[in-house]
Symmetry: C2
Subunit: 340 residues, 2 copies
């Protein structure tokens, strides 16, 4: 049963915050956004977000009723309606639901971005009909939404699924979490920048990246350079894919999923990321898992899985807090969904 009418889905990322209008068929018909990190305060962020939503509504659905607003964010606490000091964002805590309620008198829900992306893929994307899958969102950081037997993995305290903070290189790069060698210090938009810097330090090869200061070196610039054949930029994708392939082989060993779906800004690099990743996965996968888990790129646009998943959630009965009654999203034939 698809939800009816229009809803708003919002994806708060470490780099961009994007709001989308979603129609009754789960299509994102219009989007607007702004740079998350340019916000100087919580109030500034809330004002920009409300402005983006208002602009969207006026442009795409003037005078029409909207069924609700679903917000996907790192470090979301669904029951409290808050976002609690996420590592990649600058504020300590926001009651995002209250802030938006002052502008919009509709049902509003906030949920973990990785779980929203998993719901989006399950409902409208590459995971339709699957019961066991993992969605990795590789943007500023690396998030994972994990579905087991049709249910989201939450864990005992609602903080399961931190694949971005598995140690992939013992004693390796310092992470925002204060530990070393976490997956997301390598496999993310910020990770590939560190890899490019490391490669420039190690080799003497010429590269257009050498004229860009570290703080201005983005995954987009590395991608553009790689497409022009820049050897350091190409090698940065090689190295990142090699590590991601190892992460995927570990993920397959642990979860035995039908598929691992790759999404997020870094995956916009397409084959530049996919080719070395698949090669490394094939080299590293346990014989037991071989040919069983497929590695696929999300066919939804960047951030759209989370927008769709969050907008889907707001139409359902309010999900109770994980700590007490773990929420569950069940998938039967691929059509019936139940969110308790």
């Amino acid at each position: 049963m698809a939800h009816q009418g229009y809803k708003v889905g919002i994806d708060i990322g470490g780099t961009n915050t994007i709001a989308g209008i979603v129609n009754g068929r789960g299509e994102c018909i219009g989007k607007a956004g702004f740079l998350t990190q340019t916000c100087t305060s919580v109030d500034d962020f809330a004002a920009k977000l409300a402005g983006a939503i208002t602009g969207l509504l006026e442009e795409w659905v003037p005078g029409k009723a909207v069924g609700g607003i679903g917000v996907a964010s790192p470090a979301a606490r669904q029951r409290e309606g808050t976002i609690q000091g996420p590592a990649n964002l600058r504020w300590n805590s926001i009651n995002i639901v209250s802030l938006l309620k002052t502008h919009f008198d509709v049902p509003i829900v906030v949920t973990n971005d990785s779980n929203a992306a998993a719901i989006g893929e399950m409902k409208y994307g590459a995971a339709r009909g699957m019961r066991n899958f993992v969605v990795l969102t590789i943007g500023t950081g690396l998030g994972a939404g994990i579905v087991i037997d049709g249910r989201l993995l939450h864990g005992e305290n609602g903080v399961a699924g931190e694949l971005g903070h598995m140690t992939i290189e013992p004693g390796g790069r310092l992470c925002g979490c204060r530990r070393r060698g976490c997956v997301e210090t390598y496999v993310s938009a910020t990770g590939i920048r560190r890899t490019a810097a490391e490669l420039m330090a190690r080799s003497t090869e010429e590269s257009e990246l050498r004229s860009i200061p570290f703080t201005k070196l983005t995954a987009d610039k590395i991608y553009e350079a790689a497409r022009r054949g820049d050897p350091i930029a190409r090698e940065a994708f090689e190295v990142t894919g090699k590590i991601l392939g190892r992460v995927l082989s570990n993920t397959a060993a642990v979860f035995d999923p039908e598929a691992i779906i790759l999404s997020g800004g870094l995956m916009n690099a397409g084959d530049l990321m996919m080719e070395p990743t698949i090669r490394s996965f094939d080299d590293n996968v346990l014989a037991l898992n071989n040919k069983k888990s497929s590695i696929v790129r999300s066919h939804l646009n960047d951030g759209e899985a989370a927008i769709l998943g969050a907008s889907f959630l707001v139409g359902e009965a309010a999900e109770p807090q994980r700590q007490e009654t773990p929420s569950s999203v069940k998938v039967g034939s691929g059509k019936a969904y139940q969110v308790k």
Copy 2:
């Protein structure tokens, strides 16, 4: 509802095969076993196992009816009743249920040893009443039984939970699975032997272990030497615990469990293993998981969790094969268990 009467539970390990008589209260009242690897053939193994069971029955429950035999083994296929070429055992495939049926006319079931251990801990051990926990069995290899929201994690093809084959040291030790750096090449009875050999190679320190050939160097001998203060042996436990602590911090990040329960032969070393493990876990745990997942040593005797879990299973309705209908073990208040 405890099952009634006596049953037999069997734990087939890479080193020892142990059969136990389990009473209606889930107590293992008698055990008998033999060295798995001394068996020259499948027939020899079956004969030794049947002999051990017969001896047990005659000694402990002469003339009494037995409710069934539950077998826990690596690489078990429950529906087929077979064990399929496990990495640490010498044979290719055994139809263990048929072989035992020629000797004993009772219900017989074979199940994965790690899952049996998880059921044993949930029903009679350290995980009573828990809904989210992980049981690591650290013996010849390292197996994991993972329970999420009261259900065993099986995965899409029934091969999930291979924590022993996560890569913990990229490019590290060669594993039986033909990959490098797997957890079980470090954290296992065979892993600590390799660690001791490595330490002897690196240092010039005197050690009683230097007079023991590699093939005769067992975890037991390293334990005995460590208790006598041997520096290489002590360091071998230090190194093993340090790596296990890292594995546990990754496991907590992924599953957010209420507890991780450590069992298996290597854990017989008690504080020699637990102390460096807990220290390393505390050093490496993600802030998000800190103080949330407890690390506890199983209080059941070595192999007993699997024996109890397997014997529990045989009393229940036959579990369908995982591939088609994932079996589920549900725990409600800590009293009601349902095995479909």
